[in-house]
Assembly symmetry: C2
Homo-oligomer: 183 residues x 2
């Protein structure tokens, strides 16, 4: 997912891999300008937009998982909050305006160095439309969800927990979870 | 916080700032090897380690906020989960072994492109000790907390919510919050 680090982005010199003083991990270090180039996990943020009992899913127009169904979500940008990223991604992928609710799930995917955060949300109107990365959109009742055509495990897990909480009739629980590569 | 991006880390050529096709934001792009160098927010992860009614705070041995009190926390690394990062940081900064609990707060700091996630935790023993980035450690009852000497607003907020929930006698709430620069 991350581009290779062969050269220093600050000064252009070749980087070496070594453990900096006071650190315990191998880093990409520039001996010329002394910059340490840390690599950190990325946040993927999205929403579960509801219209009454129905949830809005997007069919992906891009790889990975082209043609599969997903919730509107994408990489969080610098200079924004997690909530603002969720609203922006929902607008970009589904052209949908929402009232943002509580956080539903925070799921770690250590093997790809990502953390997925999905919010509850209510659609403010039905004027949604496919964004550039979406083939089509549709509102689904629980029994209509195309479980075998869901793009990502984090989306499937989030939907499963949502419907389980709803069937239990109680309040929606926030869950912090972790997925291994072949779980 | 991020090093400058003047050169391509993959091939060493100069990068330009432009909006890639299908994107809407200015990025650092390498015209030589076509790599787009995205910059994304970083996760800072930590714990609130309790021993009975007391919370373990660490006095910082590094800048920023040298000499101020904080909860054990630090930058999440690639290839780990959020929970694993919380346990590792608690071990590194406080040499403390914990049972990790639920997530207490997730606080966005868009002006510095960080998201802070703090977990509830219980100390497993009293064999804690100052790590390399810590001057000293101490267990505090609520009335002893050095509120004017707390290192970061995210730590203060997390502690305030924890004690408020505890005084209310109910269960601890997960909170997703956002802080502006001068709030």
């Amino acid at each position: 997912m991350n581009p290779e680090v062969n050269f220093c982005s600050v000064c252009g010199a070749k980087v070496v891999r070594k453990v900096p003083q006071g650190d315990s991990m191998l880093r990409h270090v520039c001996d010329a300008c002394e910059t340490i180039h840390y690599l950190n996990p990325k946040l993927v943020v999205g929403t579960m937009p509801m219209w009454g009992n129905q949830v809005l899913l997007c069919r992906r127009a891009i790889e990975p998982a082209y043609g599969k169904w997903t919730l509107p979500a994408g990489f969080m940008e610098n200079d924004e909050s997690v909530g603002a990223a969720a609203i922006r991604e929902t607008l970009e992928e589904a052209c949908a305006r929402i009232a943002l609710g509580d956080v539903s799930t925070m799921i770690s995917l250590p093997h790809i160095s990502q953390v997925h955060v999905i919010y509850h949300a209510k659609l403010l109107d039905l004027d949604f439309a496919a964004g550039e990365e979406t083939l089509e959109l549709r509102l689904f009742n629980e029994e209509e969800i195309p479980w075998n055509e869901i793009a990502f495990r984090t989306v499937r897990l989030t939907l499963q927990h949502f419907f389980a909480d709803r069937r239990a009739g109680g309040s929606f629980q926030f869950r912090a979870l972790e997925l291994q590569p072949h779980e």
